[in-house]
Symmetry: C2
């Protein structure tokens, strides 16, 4: 449920067309959680946006202005999510520069048991293609991910996990994945593909600061079969334990509870 | 230069936001030439649109209504190009169904010598990733193609040719490619990647009907080095001879002149 929309900082309910970048998936975006009227993990979102703009040679929006606009959006009564799109060109036809489209929306409701007991996950048939130029980027050309998401319709399935053509697990359609394999916490290297999530980065930094080793490496689908626990992270949901992947059942373990505790601390 | 815009058949200058499909590259499009106030190769565009919608499980727009809307757009004074986008969801927020965005625009001006003498072509460094689910589709998740297009800024370079990671030539950033190799006319198989262009399909059918063999197969970049002629096709430009690719110079040959003659017949 969208509550308010801004184009380049000005309130708008409609967008002049055409807008070349938006129509060709040429841009980046951030989906941010609003907690207590403020954007959670704001600095990390701004940093990733800057990295994405640099990699796509998109003009970087002024950060002071962005902070102000994001604060305004987060303060909208009822806001639970703020989404920012930066796409090349300008609404109305110009192909130079970049334009930002900002939404404040209500929170996305999900069953509380998805955090406490865990989620059911589908292993997607679609294999992600390797595109080194786009690896890690949160970009707008998401058709592969949308096709993967369309593989299931059962609303009790929360997410789908994606592999590359070599059977390496990369990410979910909207989450990053962690697993405890041979008592070691592992997450895939996003240089191989998938999105470099801000929640993933925040958790990696927190664990490193606490002296806990996390392996960032290739994670094979076969390793998930024997994982002690699996969990999924993103900026909106924090961390979800996986309770079923295909035929295999899992129980929430200590690693996901640690992750959820960190997220709770960042949400205070 | 956009002359007029329609959303689901109604004139509009702006589009309600958000529109989930357009913002995630989840849709297909057709860019059509207007000649004499009518869409050239209309039936082929409609057929490809239907194929694309079916492959993405997008509701197919009603063809009778589409024909009427395209005829209206093509009849706009000064129109040279009509572009139709079909993206999942509805402007304003609903995620079901699909919505069409239609533009009438002026013709794209290019130097006449690009048809008579040929074009200069850049061999792109970016290698297209194999995505079997998307091969041949004219879809909206075009960021790879946009990055490839950004590899050159010299306006005298008309197009960039793209290979896959194995060195097979797939397409240009906006064209299909034909080459005469060992006296045989060859074009890459779009099942490997790239867009299945309507002009490519129309030429293939015309040559087959005339009893001329065209090989649809893998085309290696090394084969282009020794090609007798190379030419590029799309719905808007028809056929351009390549006069330079990298360091190698070519002259327009009889195959591209045949192609141009067919296009002239379809433009009458």
């Amino acid at each position: 449920m969208t509550l308010a929309t801004w184009i380049d900082g000005a309130r708008a309910d409609a967008m002049p067309v055409p807008w070349s970048g938006l129509e060709q998936g040429d841009g980046v975006f951030e989906t941010m959680a609003v907690v207590g009227g403020r954007v959670r993990l704001l600095e990390r979102h701004l940093a990733r946006l800057a990295t994405g703009c640099a990699r796509l040679a998109l003009p970087l929006p002024d950060h002071a202005r962005l902070r102000s606009e994001l604060a305004t959006a987060a303060a909208v009564p009822g806001a639970g999510v703020v989404k920012l799109i930066v796409a090349r060109g300008r609404p109305g036809g110009a192909v130079d520069g970049a334009t930002r489209l900002l939404y404040a929306a209500g929170p996305r409701q999900r069953p509380p048991a998805w955090w406490s007991e865990g989620v059911i996950v589908h292993l997607c048939a679609l294999r992600l293609a390797p595109v080194p130029e786009l690896a890690g980027l949160k970009h707008l050309s998401r058709l592969e991910l949308r096709l993967a998401r369309a593989e299931w319709t059962d609303p009790s399935v929360a997410e789908g996990l994606l592999q590359d053509v070599h059977g390496a697990v990369l990410c979910g359609t909207m989450t990053n994945v962690f697993a405890v394999v041979d008592s070691r916490l592992v997450t895939p290297d996003t240089a191989r593909g998938g999105v470099a999530g801000v929640m993933r980065a925040a958790l990696l930094d927190a664990w490193r600061a606490a002296g806990r080793a996390v392996q960032v490496r290739e994670l094979r689908a076969a390793e998930l079969e024997r994982a002690g626990e699996i969990f999924l992270t993103n900026a909106l949901v924090g961390a979800w334990p996986v309770r079923r992947l295909g035929e295999r059942e899992f129980a929430p373990g200590p690693a996901v509870r640690e992750a959820q505790a960190y997220v709770a601390g960042w949400s205070a």
